[in-house]
């Protein structure tokens, strides 16, 4: 109940940020929305299914590059079309990659996803003519719900219509994920996480469900990726780099992976914290490393675990 109340409060606060009129904070939050969506997916894989991917950035980058290619090469500007295209592309890539990865679990799964992420990074980096190499690819301003909004300058566009659009997509993604984790499918995934052999003996095809979770996670990752590159106007290879995947895992642990809203909290806190620490010291990575260690050792259920102390872990 506390969590639900805080959730509503947080959503209301997020709605009011642009109105409060601090464009800096508003633009700062934009990547948090994209990350939050990607993390909702990553958490279906880790929190629910028990598979930790170190290559989730692959799908975030895939979403980003889909948006870049469509806006700057194909003249597609509708953000709805971009999101849909990214989701479809991610699913198409996730099926073969997932088929290979879900044959393994634990560290082997993690290493394999890492390898695929780095493969994609190299592809983006080396195929200059196709991807723009290290310079990346421009992402042109998309059209929201058929409204061109050309009269707005960049900041006004991002802190106004786009902010609410991204928040809206995040809310929809969170609702969809909440339904997913409470569904028979979500229960089957948790059963697999808890004991795959037992789940199999109760009639759950473990590999098929793991693959389905992988594909759903990829789709959320790509949708988040599209929303991530619109504010920066650029898709570059670092989106797929392994440190980016590492950041995603960090956010997940920070927010807490056993509550479906943990990823959202993790993304927002990570972004705000990063901004605060970076303005204080150039050694922000050092500080973040210490924070990660403290979280893992003392708060294994993340920030959400602190808010929701009564709840049994991993329920």
């Amino acid at each position: 109940m506390i969590v639900r109340a805080l959730g509503v409060l947080a959503a209301a606060a997020l709605l009011l940020v642009p109105v409060a009129g601090i464009p800096y904070t508003t633009t700062l939050l934009l990547p948090a929305f994209g990350y939050a969506i990607a993390l909702l997916g990553l958490n279906l894989l880790f929190g629910s299914t028990g598979l930790l991917s170190f290559g989730h950035a692959l799908f975030v980058a895939l979403g980003g590059y889909t948006a870049a290619a469509l806006t700057s090469r194909a003249g597609v500007r509708s953000l709805e079309v971009l999101l849909l295209a990214a989701a479809v592309t991610a699913a198409l890539v996730a099926v073969p990659v997932g088929l290979l990865c879900v044959r393994y679990v634990k560290i082997y799964f993690g290493m394999l996803t890492l390898a695929f992420g780095m493969l994609f990074y190299s592809f983006l980096y080396k195929f200059y003519t196709l991807t723009g190499g290290d310079e990346g690819m421009r992402v042109l301003r998309p059209v929201l719900l058929g409204q061109p909004l050309q009269h707005l300058d960049k900041v006004a566009f991002l802190t106004g219509p786009f902010y609410y659009y991204a928040l809206g997509v995040l809310v929809l993604a969170a609702i969809a994920m909440r339904r997913l984790v409470r569904s028979p499918f979500g229960l089957a995934l948790r059963a697999i996480r808890e004991n795959a052999a037992k789940a199999e003996s109760l009639g759950v095809s473990v590999r098929r469900y793991r693959l389905a979770a992988f594909v759903v996670a990829a789709v959320f990752g790509a949708v988040g990726g599209v929303l991530l590159v619109v504010p920066t106007g650029l898709a570059d290879p670092l989106l797929a780099y392994w440190t980016h995947s590492g950041n995603l895992v960090f956010m997940l642990l920070l927010g807490g992976f056993d509550h479906f809203l943990g990823p959202v909290l993790g993304a927002v806190v990570f972004i705000l914290l990063q901004d605060a620490v970076m303005s204080l010291t150039p050694y922000w990575r050092f500080v973040f490393g210490a924070i990660l260690a403290i979280v893992v050792i003392f708060f294994p259920r993340g920030l959400m675990g602190l808010l929701d102390a009564r709840r049994a872990p991993a329920a």
């Binding site: 199999e200 109760l202 009639g203």
Partner: protein
């Protein structure tokens, strides 16, 4: 009449080791069959082969006339066969209700539904409550499996297999790892549940000879991967050969390893 479950000259090699050396057996509807034998006789391997988990090196396994050798647990669950494991096999973080719901949903082909809430499925909920009540877990539905006492964990393990409403259930030592007092409770509970739920045959691997003789219609004694005897409890007791090689050993084991899990 076709047997419900039938193994025909099954052999299983692990490298050079021969775990099963030409085992044949049949289980008919209405039977309670116990598989006994000393450690390493091949009992668990036989259960794994019968439940499709391990493909046999040669020979046939038929369930309701269908060849199911190496078919895998998911397909067998769908065909109507379930199993429980030797060690307590549960979903530690899931509640009793959720554990049983996994099986109830799978049985109805609803596991893959992505958007309907488990908690709103009244039919599944009612079925879960029925099964839980049969196994004396009715007042523990919302407890997570890891917090249950050992005897209840064992019951939950078996109950979830029963929730598939199989025609045949194979249990690898359903009473291992629980106290002697709990053993009888567990056996009584699951025999009663099997009758109520319309389970047609039970096959169990068991070390406790008191339980084996009290409940079995037929006993299959394995020794070094072969069937040493396949007969009624009375005939087994009268068989000096079996008493010496299997019961002798098994009884000693029961006494020298009381903490065996």
């Amino acid at each position: 009449m076709t047997a419900l479950l039938e193994a025909d000259d099954v052999r299983k090699f692990y490298g050079d080791t021969c775990a099963l050396d030409g085992v044949s057996l049949r289980v008919d509807a209405g039977e309670f069959v116990s598989i006994i034998g000393p450690n390493g006789a091949g009992k668990t391997t036989l259960v794994n082969v019968l439940t499709g988990l391990t493909p046999p090196s040669s020979g046939r396994v038929r369930f309701k006339g269908v060849d199911v050798a190496g078919a895998g647990p998911v397909r067998l669950a769908r065909l109507g066969m379930a199993r429980s494991f030797q060690l307590v096999t549960i979903f530690p973080a899931l509640s009793v209700a959720d554990t049983l719901a996994v099986a109830e949903l799978a049985r109805r082909g609803r596991s893959a539904r992505p958007f309907s809430a488990v908690s709103r499925d009244r039919e599944v909920r009612a079925a879960v409550e029925d099964v839980a009540a049969l196994f004396g877990l009715g007042d523990k539905l919302e407890r997570s499996a890891r917090t249950l006492p050992q005897g209840d964990k064992k019951l939950l393990d078996v109950a979830s297999a029963f929730a598939l409403r199989p025609e045949v259930i194979l249990m690898d030592e359903p009473t291992s790892g629980v106290s002697t007092a709990d053993k009888t409770v567990i056996m009584e509970t699951l025999v009663r549940a099997a009758r109520r739920m319309g389970i047609r045959a039970i096959v169990q691997v068991e070390h406790d000879m008191d339980i084996v003789f009290a409940y079995s219609h037929r006993i299959v004694a394995l020794h070094q991967g072969r069937v040493l005897a396949d007969a009624t409890p009375d005939a087994i007791r009268a068989d000096a050969d079996v008493v010496a090689t299997v019961l002798g050993i098994a009884k000693t084991q029961g006494r020298t390893e009381p903490g065996r899990v």
